[in-house]
Symmetry: C2
Subunit: 346 residues, 2 copies
Amino acid sequence: MSYRVAVVGATGAVGREMLKTLAQRNFPVREVAALASGRSVGQPVSFGDKTLAVQSLEKFDFAGWDIGLFSPGASVSAVHAPRAAASGCIVIDNTSHFRMEPDVPLVVPEVNPEALARIKRGIIANPNCSTIQMVVALKPLHDRFRIRRVVVATYQSTSGAGKEAMEELMAQTRASMVHDPIVVEQFTKQIAFNVIPHIDRFMDDGSTKEEWKMVAETRKILDPDIKVIATCARVPVFIGHAEAVHIEFERKVTAAAAREILREAPGVQVVDRREDGGYMTPLESQGEDATFVTRLREDPTVENGLAFWCVADNLRKGAALNAVQIAEVLAAQAKRGEGALAKRAA
Amino acid sequence: MSYRVAVVGATGAVGREMLKTLAQRNFPVREVAALASGRSVGQPVSFGDKTLAVQSLEKFDFAGWDIGLFSPGASVSAVHAPRAAASGCIVIDNTSHFRMEPDVPLVVPEVNPEALARIKRGIIANPNCSTIQMVVALKPLHDRFRIRRVVVATYQSTSGAGKEAMEELMAQTRASMVHDPIVVEQFTKQIAFNVIPHIDRFMDDGSTKEEWKMVAETRKILDPDIKVIATCARVPVFIGHAEAVHIEFERKVTAAAAREILREAPGVQVVDRREDGGYMTPLESQGEDATFVTRLREDPTVENGLAFWCVADNLRKGAALNAVQIAEVLAAQAKRGEGALAKRAA
């Protein structure tokens, strides 16, 4: 079995990574379409050793297409994801638009693949990048020790805000080194050589939407009883998000036991030598599939406390890879005659 | 009354800032000596509109000098601070060497100036940069709501590691933009466009010494019963440390009440509009005296929880300014015929 796959938002940072990931992982494609909005139509994008010409999303007919990997803006998905789904195409949407809708599964394949059984509207949501890497690391620990509360502070790269945001970091860095004026457009303040404690819009309670996403999505994916408080900040890094995670468990935990469990956990790689360089940084996560857990230690300031640092490539596990992994689960189910793709074929 | 002040480590990032701060704040100096180790002797350094020639620390006779502002390496202070103190010079030492010794006061003037009454060895310790800005913000809240526990994650600039570290960020940034090889010497990994979750050496419990300092120093300065867990990371910023602080209080707290208290607190400036740009970043703290508190909000995941983001210029409030403020307290006491400087004169 092979599939016709449409990548929507194909010229963006995540869209390009989706095409790359599909090719690298040999996803069984029969045909791939690269779609984007007006301006980018005709532009060439790479898919493995092929070059695809970008087609217009607006005019694209999804009938006969099996899977749509969507990563345009949220407002674009709001219109075109339901349109694609109505044509029978199964949409895996990377925007925030559908994530919290009760009848849309929000899926991290290592954490809650069972949620895929609840596809109703032909749309599956890919979680937020900062949530994905955290829940991949939390899941095996939650199964064993039961998480009560998580306090997390993030160090998020500019690619999480898109290609133009990465270009702004580059341009500001250059300007700053030759003492040219700094142009601020993608962020609210200079990001080069700075840290901005603000991602997405402000909510009424003083948190940002990015912080709220980490709270709400973790509950939807992992367990509605887990309490999460997040502080999300943007750092002058191109690719790779880091998170300082502090957890309180119901049951007794040791760093050694946590390390053993995480060593066996799918999607997790433990890199944790307590010495110079014996930990992972965002730069090193670039191009990697794993969520790296590092700086594991007990937190003596609370009962059953544990702290760690985790990093992942936010364009891969935080976005494109997770979406492709969801498609892989659907394809594996279809091989067994099960799941949404099989139903579609039938 | 005016004083003879020696600045030790005068060519370093903090030493230069000490000279600048003494001049800017019109500290009553009769004479200023700029001291450093062998290599830097003879080098010119600025003091206000004057230029001083650096003198050799090794050969310097502290007899007749009133105040020594020390910011060389910890091993240099270990030798020369007691030597200066033995000559009757009151040492305000910015290194970690004496901080936790029971008979050495560890002082942040806005927080525990009363500790200056306990000078015994002629040495006063200046706390770690990341501790200072946090306790300035915590103190007024602790007085009112009683802190039980603090979970803090830091975003620390390269200047905290010294002038060579800032130069390494600059050199790596340049190299990275022209695809030259990256040279790593001051840090354990590339810091340009990266985040390194490691400051100072590793401790047996898996925390770093920097993290331990935030725990131990906060207890010594503020209250031995406060529990602190810290994750300290280095970010590619030149000057200015940021901290994501999550606090649990004994008493009921609201964001509004905390904001009111912090607005009146010495050394604190509240910048907290819940809108684009309505918060402070490390870059904006550069050259400023205040500790800026921003992103104040209640934390609903714990009883009496509060979260905020704070930033300060780590070379000023985190080091040079705090040291000069200690000297100012001593000078004010001496005017009233009290304290260590007065005793010295008598």
